[in-house]
Amino acid sequence: MSQTASLLHRVAAGETNAVAAVVDQYGGLVWSIARKYFRDRAEAEDAVQDSFIALWKNAGRFDPDTASETTYVAMIARRRMIDRLRKMGRRISAQPLDAAPEPDSTTKGESETPLEREEEVRRVLRVVESLDPPQPELIKQSLMEGLTHAEIAEQTGLPLGTVKTHIRRGLIKVRQALGVSTSNR
């Protein structure tokens, strides 16, 4: 397979040397996501392993027309984290990481080219900020602060149903704005 093919597609095609490249490219990302959801290091390690297995299984399903490879990897990782939390009977609560560096960290783990990542981040942030209020704030409270919809409703004074509707519509608009259409309600 061409070296210009996505890493995931090369893994799906059976290229063993693409596997290490995926781990080096996205290992830090998946690890960071895991540490947001699992403060216990051992649990985070299990979650990372689980996520990469899901990634190997789904490598061939990556469609570059629907999302960047980074976003796809993050989606797979979040899906597995949420699934693990649910089966552990724990709430889905993502907390910002502390700034302290991890011991025995790899020197690899660089993300996509900084320029590509920065552009994608800016694009998504622009989309979020362009949403009708209070959707941007509610989405941030949900995804960044890990608050339940009920907690957001209590904090904002909005009815629970209103909070849910805003978050749903906000996510739909994000998808539409990023290029893949979905049902518009």
């Binding site: 781990v23 990372v48 939390l85 990481l97 949900s142």
Partner: protein, 307 residues
């Protein structure tokens, strides 16, 4: 035919809730069923997941600078080995069919016993046994299932002896004695039952037990605890057997028959396949409509991997 309406706000809300705060067990079961039955639902769910992932990444970008611990790197690379065989057929990848060998091996890899000591770990001596088991699966010709337009006839194999062996049998019975006797025989296939952490429904998460099968006499028994009671008017348990010698595309796995669980506690069920299972390597239970199905589309709930 799927009845999923992509414009239904209630269904969309279910998906939005799932990717942000999670769902109650009941709502999760509703979503799981919807995703299982509708490709359109799966597509829309992925769109919600991508949205949430993109926003999550963007909002927390300043924190995503934690390198992967070095100790994990080699393990993660090694974890790809079972999946580096033939690439999935595109039709199969895009539209989940009845269970492929790839799903069985994934379920095998996610096989979880309720005993902490038996939990699968990618490291340590235990992992070697697992790699061997998974490698054995990979060594088989990759079985591609038929596309949705072609109905595959799979013979119903097992008739669970319901008249003389009620579905829910206390362990201290003749079947229990036969189970023990078979267990003591040489050259029988033995496998521990465990919850399929990769796709199994939560209600099966406490399942455990053992299955013993004699390829010579084609008889076997399975003993399980933690199986939820089923309403036979709504659904039944169905057993599936993966035979390592059956690479025929039309019989990728053997239908092991249906049974019911009428009481909580330990149950024991006799297994007598009509089609010879020469070399069973994986057993699995799914929940199906009353009477069972020829083609299973439900998730593998409980899995037993021959060790």
């Amino acid at each position: 035919m799927s009845s999923f309406d992509p414009n239904n706000p209630d269904l969309q809300q279910l998906m939005a809730d799932a990717v942000t705060q999670g769902l109650s067990p009941q709502d999760q079961a509703t979503l799981d069923r919807m995703l299982r039955d509708s490709a359109e639902a799966r597509d829309q769910m992925q769109q919600f997941e991508l949205s949430a992932a993109a926003v999550d990444l963007a909002l927390s970008a300043e924190h995503l600078r934690s390198p992967l611990p070095a100790s994990l790197r080699e393990q993660l690379i090694a974890s790809a080995t079972p999946y580096l065989s033939k690439p999935l057929d595109e039709a199969q990848a895009a539209e989940p069919q009845h269970h492929s060998l790839a799903e069985y091996r994934a379920a095998a890899a996610a096989h979880a016993s309720t005993s902490p000591a038996a939990r699968f770990s990618w490291v340590g001596p235990q992992a070697l046994g697992w790699y061997a088991a998974i490698a054995a699966l990979i060594a088989l010709a990759f079985i591609l299932l038929n596309p949705p337009t072609k109905q595959v006839e799979v013979e119903r194999v097992v008739e669970v002896p319901a008249p003389t062996a009620p579905e829910n049998i206390p362990a201290t019975t003749n079947l229990d004695q036969r189970f023990a006797e078979l267990l003591a025989k040489p050259d029988v296939v033995i496998a521990p039952w465990g919850y399929n952490a990769d796709g199994g429904e939560d209600r099966f998460s406490n399942c455990s037990g053992q299955i013993v099968f004699d390829p010579e006499t084609q008889t076997g028994y399975m003993k399980l605890t933690g199986l939820p009671v089923n309403d036979p008017n709504l659904e039944q348990y169905q057993l599936w057997i993966v035979d390592a010698t059956r690479t025929d595309e039309t019989t990728p796995r053997i239908d092991g028959g249906v049974f019911n669980v009428t009481d909580a506690g330990e149950v024991i069920v006799a297994v007598t396949p009509k089609i010879v299972a020469n070399e069973p390597i994986v057993f699995a239970l799914t929940m199906e409509k009353p009477g069972g199905v020829v083609v299973s589309k439900g998730p593998l709930q409980v899995v037993a991997v021959v060790q």
